[in-house]
């Protein structure tokens, strides 16, 4: 049962081979045993979980079960969930118990899924290593000296360590794909607007997108069927007909055109990641896919553009944490300004403060045009690059990160070096496209390496199809760390 997929658990529950409560106990016990080392969860609440599980069993007994009723999952700790602490990995929200459910949480509840707990993350989703959490870093289950990736490191580690079959996550600049790659799990960031952001604590509103991590592409498809859909409470949610994201899973790859952007295979890519990607390309070719050379000429500009736009939006989004209505408030202060300053100085960590300062700077009078407006123009160029590239291919394939997971603490003094490692993931967010990370091999030190697949707008079904077919032909996704 440890390695059971979402699909398998769904079948076992339907067959009555296991109850939801039994499943919940199994995972809770495993979390109890392993979380002290991995630190993947911020909050676990056995009573709440078991209550949910018994309700799911009752629903099944009443004959009202859906495909995922009774299946356990974990939520990244930035999806607001009524009655649960929703901390965003920040001291600022350490005392914040959400009074309401995010759209994603509502959808999962409606499907009858059972919450195991809330996963650790970089504070306010800012980071690529999960070292920016108020609750301490998450350890990579493959090697506890390694970072799990970020910001959804807790979700990635939890799925990799089989503490949950599936976890929700978010991706603003690679926060699903990069930790999925580093932890050897399958992750999907949908097209911007496919999953409602309502109740998802904002980092950078125009880039944030909810998604998930699981063992397989098929599981991701089942989860997306639950999470996606128009929500009028999010003005950027896209109103489209509902679709079954699993519909194309079995489609053969013959005739598929895979674009390889030459900029993704240039300087900076480690040889072992290059080798893993090349091996994966060979596997796809074997299944009938054709390879096309494409160009994304503005790739290098994605870093400066992203690190202007994301902090700008964040500096404004995080202004609400002022100690007035909820969250942390400094214990002693002399006046209003002192209260604000102490509260925010204590409540936010170093990386969050750094981005608030950068964001405040680039929006300031006299700098706005040179930074923010310029970055928006570059953003359009980057999106146009993809439009051009997709004229000659169906999916784009490349690395997720330049290297496998680095060591905990190894980049602490060099934030810019860390920003540079986001080179292959940022443009997807800037363009609003769907992207996946699929397990594709290992580095010499045993740390996993993922393959990035980028789809055209609303091309999730095709993307999942390619990933699923790849997983039928390979077994990287079935490998689990020894714990």
């Amino acid at each position: 049962m440890i390695n059971a997929t979402l699909k398998a658990l769904s079948q076992q529950l339907a067959a009555g081979a296991v109850s939801s409560e039994e499943l919940a106990r199994h995972y809770l016990d495993r979390i109890d045993a392993l979380n002290p080392v991995l630190n993947a969860f911020i909050t676990v609440d056995r009573d709440k979980t078991l209550l949910d599980a018994r309700a799911a069993d009752a629903r099944r007994a009443a004959g009202n079960a859906g495909p995922l009723t009774g299946v356990p999952l974990a939520h990244k700790d930035l999806f607001c969930q009524q009655g649960w602490k929703t901390s965003c990995g920040s001291r600022m929200l350490d005392n914040f118990v959400s009074p309401y459910d995010a759209h994603v949480v509502e959808q999962c509840k409606a499907a009858g899924m059972v919450t195991l707990g809330r996963t650790n993350m970089d504070e306010f989703a800012m980071g690529s290593s999960n070292e920016n959490s108020w609750y301490g870093p998450v350890k990579n289950p493959w090697d506890i000296q390694a970072i799990p990736g970020g910001s959804s490191g807790g979700s990635a580690a939890a799925v990799a360590a089989r503490l949950t079959p599936v976890a929700t996550a978010t991706d603003t600049g690679g926060s699903i794909r990069q930790p999925a790659s580093h932890c050897g799990v399958t992750g999907l960031k949908p097209t911007y607007g496919v999953v409602s952001r309502y109740g998802m604590v904002a980092f950078a509103s125009s880039l944030d997108q909810g998604g998930m991590m699981a063992q397989t592409a098929e599981d991701c498809a089942l989860m997306l069927n639950v999470m996606a859909g128009f929500d009028k409470r999010d003005s950027t949610s896209v109103e489209r007909a509902a679709e079954d994201y699993a519909r194309d899973l079995t489609r053969p790859l013959a005739g598929l055109k895979v674009g390889l952007p030459r900029e993704y295979f240039a300087e900076g890519l480690s040889p072992e990641v290059a080798r893993v990607v090349e091996t994966a390309v060979a596997a796809l070719k074997k299944q009938g896919a054709a390879v096309v050379d494409v160009s994304l000429p503005n790739t290098a500009l994605s870093i400066p553009s992203y690190y202007v736009i994301a902090p700008a939006e964040a500096s404004s989004n995080l202004s609400r944490y002022d100690g007035v209505r909820y969250g942390h408030r400094a214990a002693g202060y002399t006046d209003l300004i002192d209260m604000y300053e102490k509260t925010r100085a204590e409540g936010f960590g170093a990386e969050v403060k750094r981005r608030i300062m950068v964001g405040t700077y680039v929006l300031s009078h006299g700098y706005y045009d040179a930074y923010y407006i310029k970055a928006q123009k570059i953003r359009r160029l980057i999106a146009n690059d993809f439009v051009e590239a997709f004229k000659s291919c169906d999916v784009i394939l490349g690395p997720v990160a330049p290297t496998a997971a680095f060591d905990l603490g190894s980049m602490n003094n060099d934030p810019v070096e860390m920003y540079l490692s986001d080179i292959y993931t940022l443009s997807v967010n800037l363009a609003g496209l769907p992207g996946m990370s699929v397990p594709a091999g290992f580095a010499a030190n045993g740390r996993p390496i993922g393959l990035q697949l980028i789809g055209n707008y609303f091309g999730e079904a095709r993307l999942l199809n390619v990933a699923h077919q790849f997983q039928l032909a390979t077994d990287w996704h079935t490998r689990a760390p020894a714990l």
Binding site: A312, S316, V324
Partner: protein, 476 residues
């Protein structure tokens, strides 16, 4: 030195929507603190704004009424600053692309009509309220008002006197209430004015340095504050001082303005387009629909009243000070066929009464139909002007018709030639001295005789007829 005053206004008009501009919470005034603030208004983590299209619709109506350009793509931006009554740490407003640009409004000062240009009107959300009393050294925050839709209407610096500024503010007030986009309740803050004031030597082209008086919620305060500020600026300059650009507050208790913050302290609001909201798209069809819903506007109605009923521009302007007043006038004018007389009554006796009682036309106890009944009896000579006043008093106090009052009190003017002739003959017979005087050339004696006739008729004889018959008899 002679100084010229330059004034521009920024008016915050609260749009009369049922719910807030970005949330479903009620906008009703006066509820218990924080009972009309939902998760969105409280800026909980993860909440998102959703635009209330009713606010946009009202803004379009104003734009059309001003003859302005409606920006069919307009953009909400964040205005960032920290204050406890601003829950998100930013106000959602509009900056580069407001919903309305340009437009104008005509004002009347004395007999002079003047056009005041409008720069722009943009939508934004109101902040909450900080309560500094009753909390033992702490401040309370009431977020009921947070998120209430506002339309900020910015004028060009086209006004050259306080009178013009007040006339502009009143004309704008008339327009927004006329259109029904604002409830006009100034005590509750539905119409708040910021006034930019500067002075310059007569003949100088460059503007002087301005100071902005914030948040005036009555026309009287606007007048007092602007007058005080102008005098303060002139005094300062004449004493050799300089005006520093600043924001000032008006204290109604002292009648003075005082500095709130100087230009150096001004915030950098770091405006940028709100990524949570898509640009607002206004279709041609939406504008056409709003256009089809537009009522006849105050300016149009004023011109029509003057032409159709033969009124002076001044009278027509008074009658169109509010839609209710204009409707009242037109109902009475149509029912009586006597526009001019109706106008005189409304702008005269009725206005004086209402002014005394502090009400508007909606508080007038005489319906347009009953006023028409009175006016009809004046026009057909049933009532002299003196009797008419008497009937008016009775109309105000009762709900009888003018005819019923005339009947009840026997106030009919006597126009029966035979009856008047008889009274005239009696008067001539009884006042030989006056007759003698008149015949010897003293015209005034005629008035004395007419007065005798009127007295004999208890004031009911038609005075014009009395004079005519008297002249004939004396000549004969």
């Amino acid at each position: 030195m002679k100084w010229e005053v330059v004034i521009g206004l920024e008016v915050h008009v609260q749009l009369s929507t049922v719910s807030k501009i970005f949330s479903g919470a009620s906008t009703a005034f006066g509820a218990e603190p924080n009972t009309q603030a939902c998760n969105v208004d409280l800026a909980y983590p993860g909440v998102l704004p959703v635009l209330n299209e009713a606010a946009v619709d009202k803004a379009i109506h104003l734009g059309l009424a001003l003859g302005a350009k409606i920006n069919q793509k307009n953009v909400f931006a964040r205005k960032n600053y920290f204050y406890p009554d601003l829950p998100k740490g930013y106000q959602i407003s509009q900056m580069d692309l407001p919903v309305v640009e340009g437009g104008q409004i005509a004002i009347l000062v004395g007999d002079e009509e003047k056009i005041i240009r409008v720069t722009r009107a943009h939508m934004e959300e109101d902040a909450g309220k900080s309560l500094h009393e009753d909390f033992h050294g702490l401040s309370g925050i009431d977020l009921n008002r947070a998120g209430t839709p506002l339309l900020e209407i910015v004028s060009e610096p086209d006004m050259r006197s306080v009178d013009e500024a007040v006339a502009y503010a009143k004309a704008l007030y008339t327009l927004v209430t006329w259109l029904g986009i604002c409830d006009g309740n100034m005590q509750e803050g539905s119409f708040r004015m910021d006034v930019n004031v500067s002075v310059r030597p007569q003949g100088q082209e460059a503007f002087g340095t301005r100071r902005e008086i914030k948040n005036l919620n009555s026309f009287r305060f606007l007048e007092q504050a602007a007058k005080y500020e102008i005098q303060w600026q002139i005094d300062t300059l004449e004493e050799g001082g300089k005006i520093q650009q600043a924001t000032v507050l008006f204290d109604p208790d002292t009648g003075e303005t005082r500095m709130m913050r100087s230009k150096e302290d001004a915030h950098d609001y770091r405006y940028f387009p709100d990524p949570d909201l898509l640009p607002v798209r206004i279709s041609d069809a939406w504008i056409a629909r709003a256009q089809s819903e537009m009522p006849e506007l105050p300016g149009q109605m004023k011109a029509r009243f003057a032409a159709e009923y033969g009124l002076s521009a001044y009278d027509a302007a008074l009658l169109t000070a509010s839609l209710a007043q204009a409707r009242y006038f037109e109902a009475a004018a149509k029912a009586s066929g006597q526009g001019k007389l109706v106008a005189n009554w409304i702008n005269g006796d009725i206005a004086a009464r209402l002014n005394r009682d502090g009400g508007d036309i909606l508080a007038c106890p005489i319906s347009p139909e009953r006023l028409a009944g009175l006016v009809a009896r004046i026009a057909d000579n049933t009532l002299s002007s003196k009797l008419a006043k008497q009937v008016f008093e009775a109309l105000w106090e009762s709900d009888l018709s003018a005819d019923a009052i005339i009947e009840r009190d026997g106030l009919k003017q006597v126009s029966d030639v035979g009856a008047i002739e008889k009274m005239v003959e009696e008067a001539i017979a009884a006042n030989p001295k006056a007759v003698e005087e008149f015949r010897s050339g003293k015209e005034k004696a005629l008035n004395a005789l007419a007065g005798q006739v009127m007295k004999a008729s208890k004031g009911k004889a038609n005075p014009a007829q009395v004079l005519e018959i008297l002249k004939n008899k004396l000549a004969g």
